[in-house]
């Protein structure tokens, strides 16, 4: 599909065409000798952080962007926000070229980074919000209304969390305040780079719910990276998997599971213990713990295997589930690595990447 075209006739929020980024990095050997050599005769090498990435994101779509550390997720995100200039390829966000950093685009996008903060450390978050309101030209009354609205959803109090110096807030409270600061101008495209990083389960859920609600209310497009698969499964119907700078999968989350986890997990609790050998007739036995066991069964064989289990044994409880998504992604990476070893010159996006429906 040509970049800029749309699947359903509407203009995509994000169009990325054959995007690449190569960094020139200086290598330094450890120790004093390495430091001296680094100072006198610097050796550089090129790192291809992103290689020929293609991507189209529609308005209102929430896309999970998966990849290991150093896979190129953040570099892509930074090129999409105009922070890093591409070495090659084309990026269009809401019809603008991000690297030009036009105010018309900047008013409509936002970036949240789990490991960096924009709030002023020594001052109450409310002061940073007032500053952001002025920068985005939001009238005082409207800024107050939006702040109250966002705070209510996130469970923040204007006279509590917003009035305390940021340094005194917990990590979860801080991230919630960061979200308010990032969304005060009602952006149409959200770039969320590990927004739940380091948060406890409750705060993760709150942030996740908030993002889902904002997406539903404002029809905003969201590109989300996270190492917490719960974020991805809760918010994203579509995932894009990047590995070593190339996209290896782009499609529905369910397809990812089907393709890379062709077996489902059958967890069964029996009335009486049955050994691994006795259960091996139904599938691959992953674990047996007394009366409980976990089996891996090919998708197509699940109904038959479950039927036989139910008729052969007294079953107390039985659940069938897909393999955890992080395991699925790990398999994809392993597959991609194996393919990379045999097809070192495979063009970008070839192989596992598949066109979107």
């Amino acid at each position: 599909m040509s970049p800029g075209a749309s699947y359903d006739g509407c203009v995509p929020s994000i169009v990325v065409d054959n995007l690449s980024k190569t960094y020139r990095v200086a290598d330094k050997d450890p120790g004093l000798r390495g430091a001296v050599r680094h100072l006198l005769r610097r050796q550089h090498r090129e790192v291809k952080a992103v290689r020929g990435v293609n991507l189209v994101i529609e308005p209102g779509e929430v896309v999970g962007f998966l990849g290991a550390n150093g896979a190129g997720k953040t570099t892509v995100m930074k090129m999409l926000t105009g922070l890093v200039h591409p070495t090659a390829g084309r990026v269009e966000v809401l019809g603008h070229e991000p690297k030009r950093r036009r105010a018309a685009l900047l008013r409509q996008i936002t970036l949240v980074m789990g490991n960096k903060q924009q709030l002023v450390w020594d001052l109450p978050a409310g002061d940073s919000l007032r500053l952001n309101a002025a920068v985005y030209g939001i009238p005082d009354t409207e800024a107050k209304r939006r702040t109250d609205e966002l705070c209510e959803v996130l469970g923040l109090g204007r006279d509590k969390e917003l009035s305390q110096p940021v340094r005194k807030l917990s990590l979860g409270q801080r991230m919630k305040c960061e979200l308010v600061a990032a969304l005060l101008h009602h952006p149409k495209v959200l770039f969320l780079d590990e927004p739940t990083l380091g948060l406890d389960v409750n705060a993760q859920t709150a942030v996740r719910d908030f993002v889902g609600r904002y997406n539903a209310q404002h029809g905003a497009s969201v590109l989300l990276t996270s190492h917490y698969m719960a974020d991805i499964t809760a918010l994203c119907k579509r995932v894009v998997v990047i590995h070593r700078g190339q996209i290896h999968f782009d499609g529905p989350l369910d397809d990812l599971t089907t393709r890379f986890a062709p077996e489902r997990q059958v967890r069964v609790e029996l009335a009486e213990p049955v050994g691994a050998q006795g259960l091996s007739a139904y599938g691959v036995v992953e674990s047996v713990d007394g009366r409980a066991a976990t089996l891996r069964v090919p998708r197509d064989s699940v109904p038959a295997a479950v039927n036989r289990l139910l008729s052969d044994h007294r079953v107390v409880d039985l659940t069938v589930a897909d393999a955890p998504i992080d395991e699925v992604v790990e398999k994809l990476f392993a597959h991609a690595d194996a393919q990379g070893d045999t097809h070192a010159d495979t063009p970008p996006d070839a192989g596992l990447a598949e066109p979107r429906p």
Partner: protein, 260 residues
Amino acid sequence: MRRYFKTLGLFWAVSVSAEMAYRTNFLITSLTTLLTLAGALFTIGLLFQNGHTPGGYSWPAALTVLGVYTLLDGLQQSLLAPNRTALTEHVRDGTLDFVLLKPVDAQFWMSMRRFSPWGLTDVAAGLGLLGYAGWRLEISPLGALSGGVAVVLGGVILYAVGFMLATLTVWFVKLYNITIAMAALLEAGRYPIQAYPAVYRTFFTAVLPVAFMTSVPAAALRGEAGAGWLLGLAVVSGGLFAASCAFWRFALRFYTSASS
């Protein structure tokens, strides 16, 4: 434009709020300013002992140079140095990302975001010196006006040179010595340019624009700067400001942002 003024007001209000807690710092800074000023007055006083007039400068005329220097030093401490430091920190921490994503001019943000009230004592001392020297020299209102414009242009030179040096952090990340380098550069303008030997005079005029930062604005205040010097001041100031904008835009093409 109104949005920029409102933003600027909030920038400074936020900065001053953050500094308010440190009252001891304020006292120490004020004391340092007064001692430094006393030291400078003593040094200049030595030069003018026994009716000596170095470079043809009278005592109050030399005070105009010291006054402009002290004023610019205050500007440097209040506005220029804190923002240069902030730029270095933003590049190192990767939080420049947030600045670049705001719909305001990033150079405006990185030049005005921080304001430290501690340099205001120098600004007040500089204005006091200029007021005293102006009274002694009977400077006309027109001279004061043209001198004021010239001082602003001198400040623009100081800003532009410092901002270009700070912009280098995009490539080199750690450049904490910029503040020292800029203080040394301005320091050279503490005394009348005519007091220096010819070689230094040429260097501080043609290579480093020190003369244009203090001596020329001070001469403009006294009504002694020729049209050529004033034009030169305007050209150097405008040129360096334009260069700082162009260099900043150029540097951002190489900004890689700290990795996550």
